[in-house]
């Protein structure tokens, strides 16, 4: 067990997997000489050479399309997008191709592609660098969607993603790259579709993923001071979604709050709330609450930006609402 950053957990996993399997190749903009915009690929070009650490032209559509071709031929490309916002340039390759090639081959063709990079808001990066696209990608059958919240999850989920045989949308978070945490040694891996109870509790279930898990835990700490014992569930992956763990918790607490950074309409929280209503309606003592970002493109001005993302206090308020307390 060692304490490492989220960034180093990702980087060391890439190194381990590249050493273990020569089919693993990295590609993306500025990942080689420049070592990655967020330094996740620091010194990997030196270690593995330009055939396996590929600085691509600025062409998301082209290089994600090429990764799809490489994967069809048995390579395991791990593609870095500078931010997930730029993946929209390659939407057709991800949605119409990567997600459907197995299906269109009647199950004959594996597609082991991992696309990774930061998702969600940063600090004053405006509307085209700050979007949270998890619900967009989790909508499509054929794609797996992971959203690690801690260094250990970054390592464990990335290993599973690289060793799998399906395309994975791997959503990191810029605010978490510097976060430190304990990570197990050896070939530590975490399964997809298995949520973690990040904090056990009895009064209310707070469901979150990625950076929002830390907000939820902070809110739970604050609520404890008011005598409210919140259970926090960290989803880890959105597809597959661990409905079982959510329902088991709600069956115990009878109340639920779902937290997401993205916009409210048609978001992940709407889907999770619907699953709770479908499978545990009779267990609920209050409507499911959603804590979300504001329904605007992300503003540049810092004061407006802070108003557009969820905060600890919003979760506290939502939890109290489910308990009919103010």
């Amino acid at each position: 067990m060692a304490e490492v950053t989220y960034r180093d957990a990702l980087r060391s996993t890439l190194i381990e997997e590249m050493e273990r399997d020569h089919a693993v190749v990295l590609m993306g903009e500025d990942i080689g000489v420049y070592q990655g915009t967020f330094r996740v690929t620091a010194d990997l070009l030196q270690r593995f050479g330009p055939k396996r650490v590929i600085d691509t032209p600025i062409s998301e559509l082209g290089f994600i399309g090429a990764a799809v071709g490489m994967a069809m031929l048995g390579l395991r490309p791990v593609v870095e997008v500078m931010t997930w916002n730029f993946s929209l340039l390659a939407f057709d390759q991800i949605i119409n191709n990567a997600a459907k090639i197995r299906y269109f081959s009647g199950g004959q063709v594996d597609l082991p592609v991992v696309i990774r990079g930061p998702n969600g808001a940063g600090v004053q990066l405006s509307a085209q660098h700050s979007q949270s696209l998890e619900a967009t990608y989790a909508h499509f059958p054929g794609l797996l969607v992971a959203a690690p919240a801690t260094p250990a999850e970054a390592k464990g989920l990335l290993r599973t993603a690289i060793r799998g045989n399906d395309p994975v949308v791997f959503l990191e978070n810029a605010a978490l790259y510097g976060m430190k945490g304990e990570v197990a040694d050896g070939e530590f891996a975490l399964p997809f579709g298995k949520a973690e109870v990040a904090r056990p509790g009895t009064d209310v279930t707070v469901v979150a993923y990625s950076r929002m898990v830390h907000l939820a835990l902070a809110a739970a700490g604050q609520l404890a001071g008011d005598g409210i014992n919140a259970e926090v569930i960290n989803l880890r992956t959105l597809r597959p979604l661990d409905t079982q763990t959510i329902i088991a918790s709600v069956t115990k607490t009878h109340r639920a709050v779902v937290v997401q950074e993205q916009w409210k309409p048609f978001g992940a929280a709407a889907e999770i709330a619907a699953r709770i209503y479908e499978e545990a309606f009779d267990e609920l003592d209050a409507p499911v609450e959603r804590v979300t970002g504001a329904d605007v493109p992300m503003p540049y001005a810092r004061n407006l930006e802070l108003l557009a993302v969820p905060h600890e206090g919003d979760i506290v308020k939502a939890v109290k609402k489910t308990l009919y307390r103010t």
Partner: protein
């Protein structure tokens, strides 16, 4: 001996100077004729209500057979587009493979009834996935070629598209990448001068697809798509270049468009009778037959033999596909994710 046959004895036949045997060119004719007959059968089946949709490529068969001929059928890869019927037949798909796809049968080897007709894919004969949005297969071809290059397998990739697809960003990004890394890939563009209804002058600035290769630092060649042997010659050169590690080639084949875009289209709505008539005179099935007769490789008898054999094969394939079962309803949710080893 006819006068024509006598003349053929004097000048060496063109195909021989290219290193092709009489058997080669007769086989090439067989594939052109098979693709055409299968194409026509598919349309009949669609019009008879046996199939929902047909998309095919009458007029494109000659360049496809010529271009595919130098490829190694076992080792090399082909990433087709929806007019690649003849190329896919040469590469190893059969008439019944294609009709099983047309009828969306459980034993359709491309997709088990999941993908549209004409969207050929057959991993076992190294034909990979075509997609409905045009141009998207170009980056796939480049990725396959990159994988082959770093693994030093010697596999060469051919990827095909129509000239309409070349307007897509994918095509630029793919050719740029291939040029940077000198990848063993052959870019084929079958230019029939129409993107559904939009004529060449409204879709290709400069009017010349092959010229675009210069911008990416590799050769671009434009050939008459009705001249099967010329298509073979330029494809052979491209294949040799790729084998020698000299990188990609762009091949533009100017082909006649003898049919409508798909079974949902009527080209008479936007093309003149005169233009369609002029295209018919460039039909590769006819031009190649005339060539084979002029060099006395084919006569009435051999032609009838080939035609009869094709009719028999297509009749059998149609019956077989028609009798084959539909996909099992309880398989409806399958093939979305990996199902275990």
């Amino acid at each position: 001996m006819s006068a024509m046959e006598a003349k053929a004895r004097v000048t060496p036949a063109r195909h021989k100077t290219l290193g092709l045997t009489d058997k080669d060119v007769l086989d090439m004719y067989y594939y052109i004729a098979l693709a055409r007959a299968l194409d026509e059968r598919m349309w009949v089946l669609q019009r008879a209500g046996k199939a929902m949709f047909v998309i095919s490529g009458p007029g494109h068969e000659g360049c496809q057979v010529g271009a595919m001929w130098p490829m190694d059928k076992q080792r090399d890869w082909f990433v087709p587009f929806y007019r690649s019927i003849a190329a896919c037949l040469v590469k190893g798909m059969t008439a019944s493979d294609m009709l099983l796809g047309l009828f969306a049968r459980a034993n359709d080897p491309s997709s088990g009834g999941r993908q549209m007709p004409g969207h050929y894919g057959h991993p076992r004969v190294k034909i990979l996935s075509t997609s409905s949005p045009v141009g998207t297969q170009y980056p796939h071809g480049v990725g396959i070629a990159y994988a082959a290059k770093i693994r030093k397998t010697g596999e060469i990739t051919m990827v095909a598209i129509g000239e309409g697809g070349t307007s897509q960003g994918d095509v630029h990004e793919a050719m740029n990448w291939a040029g940077i890394y000198k990848l063993p890939v052959i870019f084929v563009v079958e230019n029939n001068a129409y993107a559904i209804s939009v004529p060449l002058h409204k879709q290709v600035a400069g009017g010349n697809v092959a010229a675009r290769a210069a911008g990416y630092g590799f050769p671009g060649v434009s050939a008459d798509g009705s001249d099967v042997l010329e298509c073979y010659r330029v494809a052979k050169e491209a294949h040799d270049r790729a084998k020698r590690g000299e990188g990609p080639t762009l091949l533009e084949f100017r082909v006649p468009r003898l049919g409508s875009h798909s079974s949902d289209d009527q080209q008479e709505r936007y093309r003149t009778k005169e233009e369609i008539q002029a295209d018919r005179r460039r039909d590769p099935l006819q031009t190649f037959r005339q060539y084979l007769e002029s060099v006395a490789v084919m006569n009435e008898g051999t032609h009838k033999e080939i035609t009869d054999r094709i009719k028999r094969e297509i009749d059998e394939a149609t019956d077989f596909a028609d009798r084959s079962p539909l996909p099992e309803p309880d398989s409806g949710a399958r093939y979305v994710f990996h199902e275990g080893d």
